[in-house]
Amino acid sequence: METFLALLVPVILPVLAAVTFGYGIAMGFARRNRLATQLAAEEPRLAHLVRTNTQPVGHSGPVALVLGNVAFAADAPSRWAASWRTLFGGRADSLTMQADMARRLATVRMLHQAERMGAVAVTNVRYETSEIFSGRSQQSMMVIELLAYGNALVPAPAAGSGADQR
């Protein structure tokens, strides 16, 4: 017990911190790489779905609301680095990249939903970013939610008059 207490501050705590940090960096990179690969595969495939954030013009088929969301956390080492960044201000590159990735993932999910409906476009897209479940312990937990929603345009059924939508 005494040796434990003697070693606690000089050895055990730094080792725990280093292990947590190392895990955060290594796992964080692995996770982000996996996500990047997934996005790189999905985004070109869904690129045919036109996205705008304006109202649809001249569409006569059915429309439907589509949503995509993701709850995302940045890795602890990046957040720690960014907290040092606040001393001088400036750009937190790692967090910028991660927020962007999460938003792209939300977009991809929205487009998946649109794709399942056989939509040709998603219009009137709105994005929302919010920090959720935050409180006094902001430092220890950071969860952001990225939400993308829009209006999917589905082509009118070609039956009957054969009238085509513009």
């Binding site: 109202q55 949503l67 995302f72 890795d75 479940f133």
Partner: protein, 106 residues
């Protein structure tokens, strides 16, 4: 109930505007999920438990909005918007609002 986030609906005409409808729900995170999320928080990435939680609660808020519109006798809600906010430590509010209307075939 037809729900859309645009003001106009192709092929339909707004016959009557019934007014603003809204639905909200506040969800607290649950401890079991929280422990897992705490671990994941170190490495970052998606917190799948939370994504599901948020999707569920957003659906609930939307359902409440729809229920309100039904009570008013609407057949559609247009110009729907969603917002999320952290209102207390460990609780998030999902809010959905839109305009309840009666749509007619144009």
């Amino acid at each position: 109930m037809f729900v859309t986030n645009t003001e106009n609906v192709p092929g339909a005409r707004v016959a009557r505007v019934l007014g603003l409808v809204q639905g909200n729900t506040v969800r607290a995170k649950n401890v079991g999920r929280d422990i897992m999320a705490g671990f994941k928080n170190i490495a970052g990435g998606e917190l799948r438990g939370y994504t599901e939680l948020l999707t569920e609660s957003r659906n609930e808020a939307t359902q409440r909005m729809i229920a309100q519109a039904e009570q008013m006798g609407a057949n559609a809600i247009v110009n729907v918007r969603f917002t999320t906010a952290s209102i207390a430590s460990g609780a998030a509010e999902m809010y959905a609002y839109g305009t309840a209307v009666v749509l007619e075939q144009a």
